[in-house]
Every structure is written in C-alpha cells, then in structure tokens.
Amino acid sequence: MMQVEVKNWQLLYGTVVVCIVNILMPHLAKYIVSWFYSPTKEELLKLEELRKLLEELNQKSIKDEFAAYSRLQRRINKLEAEVKKMSQSRISASVTVNTSIQLALEVLVAIVTVISIIFFRKIPVATMKGDLFPFTTVLRYPSELPNAISAHVWIIISNVTLKVLLKPMLP
C-alpha cells in the first residue's frame, strides 16, 4: 500500500469543504429560502379550509344533490383562486431569492477554487511514496515535485468522490 505525506493540510481540508458546499448548495439555498418564504398563517388556514371542503365534496353525490354539490364546488373554486393569488407572489419571490443565493454561492465557490489553483499552483496537496507512472505528470502538474498531487487534481478528485458519496443521502 502506498504511503501518503500531506504537504498542505489547510489546502486539503479547505478543498473538501468547498466541494461539499458546492454539492449541497441547491439544498442549502432551498432550506434558507423556505425559512423566509414559508406560507403565511392566512394561507395555511385557507388551505385547511380548502382541504375540508374537498373532503365534504367527495362525500356528496353529484346526481342526487346537484345543487348542493355545485354550490360547494363554487366555494372551492373561489377559495382556490384566492390561495393561488396568495401563493403566486410568494413563490415568485422565493424563486428569485433561491436563484440569487445559488448564484452567489456558485460565484464564491468559483472564486475560491480559482484562487486556490493560482495561489497553490506550485504547492502540492500531498506526495505519494511510490511511482505513479504513467499518471505522474498529469497528477503533479504544475508542481515540480515527483509523485505529487497538485491542488486542481485534488479538487477534481474531491468533487467526484464527494458527489458519489453524498448523492444517496440527499433528497
């Protein structure tokens, strides 16, 4: 088994954290938005009333009680229109905020990644004791140390591995 010597622990852990944030970003954004844009009390009451009316409607026979059925249906239509109006503005605002948060996080992750790649281009994350032929040049580029794992290769490895590991756990 190959032995590994970590050259830069900050870069190692930092990269892993950034990759995790990148993968969890859509879920994070959704969670944040849901806190601020949850349905109002009024909306929840109307939804509850709608649910009760629909239950009542299911118990009526359209043939035997047509007039009562139709009156109930009209009330339901009116309530549905009200709920739709209330939720539409909330949903469009939450979509905007969700998109903005995701975009902001993506830009942040991109900046951090680019800075890491540029700043640590000569400093490898780790070196392996053993020959990594024929992948030696690719894995260490642009560092000059033999059998080194460069920052951007480490970023790729972390991203792919974490995606595979975290995907089954995410909704």
Binding site: I62, K63, F66, A67, S70, R71, Q73, R74, N77, A81
Partner: protein
C-alpha cells in the same frame, strides 16, 4: 354570482338583455341540441327591434342559422330577409390563416409570401390555434363594421370556452413575443442585409402581429366588461345539460365573463299531459327545474316550451322570439 339568502326571483325573461343598451357582445352557448341557434336567432330578432343594427354570427361548424332563417348565409354579413337591420354571418372556425385570400398578403414581397408558408406550417402545428386566429380576424372585421349588437351563436361548450379564454392567453403570449421582437429586430435586420435581403424588414412580420395584439387586447377588455358582454346559457331540464351549464357558468366566472341569464328550453309546459310519456317527462323536468331555481336564484331563468312544430323560417323565429320576453301561455284544451 354570489350566494344570497331571501333573494327575490329575478324576472324570468330576457328583457334585461334587450333593455341593456350598453351591451355589445352577446354569446349564446350550451350543450349540443338544446336550442342555442333558435334562441340566438330569436334574441337577435328581438334586439333588432330596439337597436340600430344587429349581427348574428355562427361559429358552430354545423351552421344552423341558415336552417333557422331558411336562407343561405356566408362569410360576409348578409341581411336577413324580412328584416331591415338584422344581418347574419357564418364563419368556419376551422378555416384560419390557411385559407385567407391572397389579397390579404397583397403588396408584400416574396420573402413575406415565403414567410406566410412557414407561418401556415407553424400555425397548423398547434391544434385550435388557426380557429382562434380566424376568430381574431372576425373580431377585427366586426369591430370595423360597427354593429350596435353582435350575437354569437357558439359551438358546443368546450370549443366556446377555449375561444373565450383565448384572448387572455394570446395577449400574454403575443405580448412577450413582441417584447422579444423589439430586442432582436435590429439584429435580424443586420443579418438580413448581410445575406443580401436588402428590402427585408422584420417589422413586416411584426406589424400584423401588433395589429392583432391590439385587437385582442381590446377584445379581452370588452369581454370582461359586464356592461358590454354577457353570456346566455341555454339548457334543457336534464341532468347532463344542467351539469354542462354549471360547468360553463363556473368557467365563465373563472374567466371573468359576465353571465346572468339561463334559458331552459324544450319544456313540456302544457297544463295537462296528452299521454303517459309526456306526464313522466314532465315530472323529470320538474325535478330539474327545482334544482335550477335553487342553484340559479341570482339568474334570470327563462323557460321556453317544446312546441308541436319545428322553429324554422323567419316568421316562426319571429313568433318564437316573443317567448323570450313574455312567458309561454299553453293552450288550455288537451289533445
């Protein structure tokens, strides 16, 4: 249309429609075979007595107003025999842009003619779109002719609802398209000039769209104005018809189109039944009439009789039209 308690029944006639001078567009609709054409023709006849000029348009592919008045009508407004100010027109909603005459595109370049072919293909791909666009053309034509009132004898329910909600949908869609067009038009003009289409101007395509959008916007606003537009629902006293009527009323409410008149047609209104079958049918009708009275207490419910003879020909329609204003007085002696 709201639930009201202790509501005095409204006058059971269509007098409210005749008296409302601001009304311009009157739609008559309902399930197939209930008597929409007879009722719409009768309504048009009554309107012609109090208005300067009345046009009745049939959008039903079956074209029954020719049968009702016993006179052939076409795509252009034709005066109804026996009337000075009543005109009738039959349009085929399936004939849309694909059948517009060449004159419509007169004076336009080859590029536009080619574009027309492409447009036909695109239009043909969307079911119902060509009938709706021909409808928009009819609206434009009718607005230009300045009739005091226009009665639409509509096709059975589903079609009508789709057409009535179409202005909103088109306005939104076309509106977005036009905004997009204003952004890409300079680019398109540049590309066209690069390819040597010096006389090509994207504005040629958009001018017609602009015009149509403007008509559709006006139509949309007018359809939602209860002072200008109303929908008369025709039904018979049977479950399916009643169900269909209620569906129509709910949909019209959703679309914001006024409706406050219901005609219950083909009723057995004799004081004594000539046979057991009629007596049984009368009982069934009574049951549904009660439900209609209960459900539509804030509507004018006009009851029309099933007559011994068909209502065909201008004089029969004229006579029948009186029943829209005065309740039917059945003959007292039984057969």
């Amino acid at each position: 249309m709201e639930d009201t308690k202790d509501f005095e029944p409204l006058e059971p006639s269509l007098k409210n429609v005749i008296d409302q001078k601001s009304l311009r567009w009157i739609f008559v609709g309902g399930k197939g075979g209930v008597g929409k054409t007879t009722c719409s023709c009768s309504l048009a006849v009554q309107l012609s007595k109090v208005r300067e000029s009345v046009l009745i348009i049939s959008t039903d592919p079956a074209h029954n107003i020719s049968d009702a008045f016993d006179q052939k009508f076409s795509k252009v407004p034709t005066k109804v025999k026996g009337f000075d100010n009543l005109f009738a027109m039959e349009i085929d909603p399936n004939v849309g842009l694909t059948e517009l005459p060449e004159e419509y595109f007169e004076g336009e370049s080859e590029a536009m003619r080619l574009g027309k072919g492409v447009m036909q293909e695109i239009v043909g791909a969307f079911p119902g779109i060509d009938e709706a666009m021909s409808y928009a053309e009819v609206m434009k034509l009718v607005k230009g002719m300045n009739f005091s009132a226009v009665v639409f004898d509509t096709a059975p329910t589903g079609h009508t609802l789709r057409l009535l909600s179409f202005p909103q949908v088109v306005e939104r869609g076309l509106g977005k398209l036009m905004r997009l067009k204003s952004k890409v038009a300079p680019f398109i003009n540049q590309i066209a000039s690069l390819f040597g289409l010096a006389d090509f101007n994207s504005d040629m395509f958009s001018n017609k769209m602009d015009e149509m959008l403007s008509v559709i916007r006006q139509v949309n606003a007018q359809f939602k104005d209860p002072n200008q537009t109303t929908f008369v629902c025709v039904c018979i006293a049977e479950f399916l018809s009643l169900y269909e009527t209620e569906r129509l009323v709910q949909e019209l409410t959703r679309c914001g189109i006024d409706t406050h008149n219901i005609i219950v047609n083909q009723l057995l209104l004799r004081s004594s039944a000539p046979c057991e079958l009629c007596a049984a049918r009368h009982k069934v009708q009574e049951k549904y009439l009660e439900q209609i009275a209960d459900l539509y207490e804030d509507f004018h419910v006009t009851k029309l009789p099933l007559l011994e003879k068909e209502v065909r020909g201008a004089s029969a329609v004229n006579a029948f039209s009186e029943l829209l204003l005065k309740p039917y007085d059945p003959p007292t002696s039984s057969t």
